[in-house]
Amino acid sequence: MRISAHGMAADLPGGWDARIYRRPPERPAAATHPVLHAGNFALPAERGDYGSGAVELMSAAHVLVVLREFGAEAVDRPLFAPRGRPSPVPYAAFRPDGLQRAIQGQAGAQFFFTENGRPFCLYVVLGSYVNRSGLAPVAAGVVDRLQIEPVTAGPAGGP
């Protein structure tokens, strides 16, 4: 199953839900940027950009992948200096204190990078820290199949 929007695309294995969205601007001419959510569970309608609302529903076998783009001005910042996404996603990077919202038993990892001239944050949540050796490869398989198109002259606030 493949979806694409806002210069991102994802080839998903069976049983995965995904959304690629960009929030409407809160004020005219304000910039918003695309976000991708993908999980091997039913994603709820209401979610925060870093998966709040979804992570609470995760069981020990679930994985959530978040890819959030930042504004073009972030490209020059040291935080986004790494070129390209981590491949494979390092298993050792997942820690309980790596979660944006701490939930007992879960583990998270966050990576900042620039790819095709676009700055991104990749945030991955595993439903079980204990089983990270089994879940991290599942997440890595999806991350490897994400596609990021080169930055083009698009509408204001995004690619």
Binding site: M1, A5, R19, Y21
Partner: protein
């Protein structure tokens, strides 16, 4: 004697004419039937016989040939221009796919009822609205209609995959098996609810057939579906009455009128007799 013989000969002659007339009539009928083609099928092999549908009648799906058709995962665009992918096959929960259009008048009631917190569904069932793609639908109109609590996916490919004949049309997919458990056109939510009632009944029969047991789960699902159809949702006041009806009283109160009359008449006779007998035993020396 001669007269009798002559009469008998005449009678035999008349009967012979009658039989000849009947045979000729029968031959005419057979000839007409032959001209109409009757009896030709007897000379055909069964393979020569062709069955077909009237023009305009859609061909039956595979599901009508003895096997449930399979569901399909759903992917497409939202009315806001975002992308969405929803797993339907191989997941724990069931999916009710509502195929709607922004233009059909019958769909308007469903768009309205899906607003707010969404309609009440059986436990473990997600609702997804699917419209055709941007080549057939108005994105601006769909942005106005799209409910916040129910995902709306625009995809002509999904319509084609499910072979949707008309809108509004509903398909219930069993998540674990990925099979379509029911599908129908509907004009009201009560008709849609019939889908999972039917699915529960079919599942109950299938389980009985395969295991000879197992009724409780489907009975509970059917009860839930029937309560929902009647508008009784979880937490409905009728499920928690403030007072219970009084149980029927025992003894005389439970007897019918004729019984009570008989008992009163018996008392009317027995009481004076008993009193008189007591007085006599008291005063007798």
């Amino acid at each position: 004697m001669t007269t009798l013989v002559v009469a008998e000969a005449v009678a035999i002659g008349l009967l012979g004419l009658l039989v000849a007339g009947l045979l000729r009539s029968h031959a005419d009928i057979l000839r007409r039937l032959h001209q109409l083609g009757a009896g030709d099928d007897d000379r055909r092999s069964p393979a020569d016989v062709r069955f077909g549908l009237q023009p305009g009648v859609p061909a039956p799906r595979d599901g009508l040939k003895g096997q449930s058709p399979g569901g399909h995962d759903i992917a497409g665009q939202t009315p806001a221009g975002d992308a969405v992918a929803l797993a339907v096959v191989g997941i724990a929960q069931n999916t009710l796919v509502a195929f709607l259009s922004s233009g059909c008048s019958t769909c308007a009631d469903f768009w309205e009822s899906f607003g707010g917190s969404g309609p009440t569904l059986p436990f473990g069932t997600q609702l997804v609205v699917v419209t055709k793609g941007t080549d057939h639908e108005s994105e601006s109109r769909l942005r106005q209609l799209a409910p916040s609590a129910v995902p709306v996916v625009m995809s002509s490919a999904v319509w084609a995959a499910y072979d949707v004949p008309v809108a509004p049309y509903f398909v219930l997919v069993d998540g674990p098996s990925g099979q379509v458990r029911g599908e129908r056109a509907a004009t009201s939510w009560a008709q849609v609810a019939h889908l999972w009632q039917q699915a529960a009944a079919d599942g109950r029969l299938a389980e009985r057939r395969t295991t000879g047991t197992g009724d409780d789960g489907f009975r509970a699902a059917r009860a839930d579906a029937e309560l929902l159809t009647a508008g009784i949702t979880p937490g409905h006041p009728s499920l928690y009455p403030s007072s219970l009806p009084e149980p029927p009283k025992q003894g005389f109160q439970s007897a019918d009128r004729s019984d009570r009359d008989r008992q009163r008449a018996l008392l009317a006779v027995a009481m004076p007799v008993a009193i008189a007998a007591g007085i006599r035993s008291t005063w007798s020396p």
